[in-house]
């Protein structure tokens, strides 16, 4: 019964590990489910699920698995009681209580793995499995069951009902990728200085010890040149109209980039649809925070890595015509494409990240402008994988 729930969770795509499953067994043995399905629902969720993005999958799995049991908590009650009773609570002194896998937990895990293999797919009574588990050496039960109140008895609705209501659908992360994966990708963009440049300003500990010893114990400090990341990055982000739907995604990239402390320099600018003679220092794109693209360019050496993030979807005229800029007060003397090419020429290490999935690039409304821009910049999807490919590209000159 229980082990099938484990499989059910897996097949719903919940990343639950054996380790956590063992913790759940430990918790059950301590009576923390309080012999009720509702108690089990919250207990298993707290132990097994580590992100609200997976709560919905958990609900689905739970509803599917326990549907038949909905009318009676008895089944689980019996199973739990059996489990609890077979384990007299022990009082183990703090020192002996190793939360790390000691041998018996390892042994348990091995057994469980074994069982998982053998029982895969076949139907079996849970009590039998728990029975085996119940005789297992969970020796840390220092907490009396009655001391904790888990799973409110005051809740009248059944746990299956609660699960079936699926309160956490909006938190699902199927499409959304998090900041962390962007950060991890950005870390790979490094370029170390050689040990021959820059000031010697890092204490060389080994050298100091050596020199001090040679100096008969009188302190002699030795300094060396640190290896520093010399990578410099400029991030240009589209911050207008059609980008609103990708705002979350872009703000994750932005947050990740902002957190990246390993670059020598990181600059942020914004534009609307395409880049013309002015770009902006704030996403609100007001004339107050406009700067001349020309000036920005001349302040950047060619070793700056350029990352542009935008959906590249616009009217072709915005790229190809003088005065084609979408904002009427822009009056661009040069067409957008001119500026893009100029950027690419000035900054040979450059990429374009597009939040639109690449399989749609030749089909979306903006397919024409996307194709035009792809001739100037290598374009990648704004996903952690896309970013990773893009960053690889950024290490080598584009052209």
């Amino acid at each position: 019964m229980f082990i099938n729930f484990f499989h059910q969770l897996k097949s719903e795509g919940v990343p639950v590990s054996l380790n956590e499953w063992m913790t759940l067994m430990e918790a059950l043995a301590k009576g923390l489910a309080f012999s009720s399905l509702t108690g089990f629902y919250y207990l298993a969720r707290a132990v097994l699920i580590k992100s609200e993005a997976h709560y919905d999958r958990y609900d689905l799995a739970f509803a599917k698995h326990f549907q038949g049991l909905e009318t009676s908590d008895d089944v689980i009650k019996h199973a739990l009681e059996w489990l609890a009773n077979s384990q007299p609570p022990l009082h183990v002194p703090p020192g002996e209580r190793s939360p790390f896998a000691n041998w018996d937990l390892d042994e348990l895990r091995r057994q469980l793995e074994d069982r998982l293999k053998r029982q895969d797919g076949e139907h079996h009574g849970g009590s039998q499995w728990i029975g085996t588990g119940g005789t297992s050496p969970f020796g840390h039960s220092g907490y009396h069951k009655a001391g904790v109140r888990i799973g409110g008895q005051s809740v009248n609705r059944s746990a299956v009902q609660v699960a079936a209501e699926r309160h956490y659908q909006e938190f699902r992360d199927d499409q959304i990728t998090g900041v962390r994966s962007f950060e991890v990708a950005l870390r790979k963009l490094r370029q170390f200085s050689t040990r021959t440049e820059g000031p010697k300003d890092e204490l060389d500990l080994d050298g100091t010890i050596d020199a001090t010893c040679k100096n008969a114990g009188k302190l002699k400090l030795v300094w060396e040149r640190p290896r520093r990341n010399t990578m410099k990055v400029i991030l240009l982000m589209d911050s207008g109209g059609s980008m609103n739907q990708y705002m979350q995604l872009c703000s994750r990239l932005f947050t990740a980039a902002h957190r990246a402390t390993h670059f020598k320099d990181m600059r942020f600018y914004y534009f609307h649809n395409c880049i013309y003679d002015r770009i902006y220092t704030s996403p609100s794109l007001t004339s107050r925070n406009a700067v001349k693209t020309e000036d920005v360019l001349s302040s950047l050496k060619a070793d700056y890595r350029l990352i542009i993030a935008g959906d590249a979807s616009m009217a072709p005229s915005e790229l190809t015509m003088r005065g084609g800029a979408i904002d009427w007060d822009m009056h661009n003397e040069q067409p957008g494409l001119f500026w893009l090419e100029r950027l690419a020429r000035h900054l040979p290490f450059s990429v374009w990240l597009n939040p639109i999935p690449s399989e749609h690039w030749d089909r979306t409304e903006g397919y024409y402008s996307i194709a035009l821009i792809q001739r100037v910049f290598p374009m990648f999807e704004l996903t952690p994988e896309g970013l990773e490919q893009a960053l690889k590209k950024l290490k080598a000159k584009t052209k």
Partner: protein, 288 residues
């Protein structure tokens, strides 16, 4: 040890759902850290405080910043001071112990009484930060090579870790924790929270303010949705300003208290912000 910790049942100034109480108690019973995640202002920090108070335990807070290193939580060896003393000072530099300063984790471990240790906003720190603390949190002990000393928890602390849901945490770390996501409070719970903070608030003002607040949270594309603490501030501003509850159906005075970002203020039409608006049904529509 843990049997001394009875169970958490909330405090008068903190409204807590039964599920969250349960999660705290599961963490206590299993001796695992409790990771609490949720939007800013959902009462994560306060939970730890309330737990300490309710369980009658000492409360130790470790506030995490972007520059915080895991090592600082264990101990810092003040080598510079020692070096200085060795050259110019009159202290006995062979006694390294006096240059070892315990961090918050060390403080929690060495405390004679059991403590609640709050590691607040762990997602602010470097990506690897949580992983760097795994071992110490697991075995509740660490070694200081400089002094040959082992710091072991006298009493297993209840560790509560909060995260603002901004950054994902490493899997290995997550596997060790009991996890609880604090839902944004529904209206009934919000009403109790408001009453805890403003017991004398006029009921109609509270209801109208909540109505406006929840519709505002529904405006799509807000960079930062207003949170509980902002609602509490807003209610106070409305009360002090002597605002008639009926005005809230069509205008939002002191909107700056609720929305802190200029772009978000731009998303709510001007005429709804200060003066009466036209539409009765949903006054806080999204722009263009």
């Amino acid at each position: 040890m843990s049997e001394k910790l009875s169970r958490f049942s909330g405090t008068g100034d903190y409204i807590v759902s039964e599920e969250l109480q349960n999660s705290v108690n599961v963490a206590i019973a299993l001796g695992r850290p409790l990771l609490v995640k949720g939007e800013p202002g959902t009462g994560k920090t306060m939970l730890a405080k309330s737990a300490a108070e309710n369980l009658g335990l000492k409360f130790i807070i470790w506030n995490i910043k972007s520059t915080t290193k895991a090592q600082e939580g264990l101990y810092v060896y003040d080598t510079v001071q020692r070096l200085y003393d060795s050259q110019f000072g009159d202290r006995d530099v062979s006694d390294i112990k006096q240059y070892i300063r315990l961090g918050k984790l060390g403080e929690a471990f060495t405390s004679d009484e059991q403590v609640v240790l709050l590691i607040d906003e762990i997602d602010k720190a470097d990506l690897e930060f949580p992983n760097d603390l795994l071992w110490e949190l697991d075995i509740m002990s660490y070694f200081i090579p400089e002094t040959g000393e082992t710091i072991t928890a006298k009493n297993r602390p209840l560790v509560i870790i909060t995260s603002n849901a901004e950054k994902e945490l490493p899997d290995a770390f997550l596997r060790r924790c009991i996890f609880h996501y604090i839902d944004f409070p529904d209206k009934a719970m919000m009403a109790s929270i408001i009453k805890v903070h403003h017991p004398d608030l006029e009921e109609r003002l509270m209801l109208q303010a909540m109505e406006a607040f929840y519709s505002l949270r529904n405006v799509s594309g807000l960079l930062k949705k207003p949170s509980t603490s902002e609602l509490l501030d807003w209610v106070q501003a409305l009360e002090l300003g002597g605002i008639n509850p009926d005005r809230l159906t069509h205008e939002l005075p002191f909107l700056g208290v609720l929305l802190k970002k200029n772009q978000d203020l731009d998303r709510v039409p001007r005429n709804q912000q200060e003066r009466g608006g036209r539409s009765k049904s949903f006054p806080y529509s999204q722009r263009g």
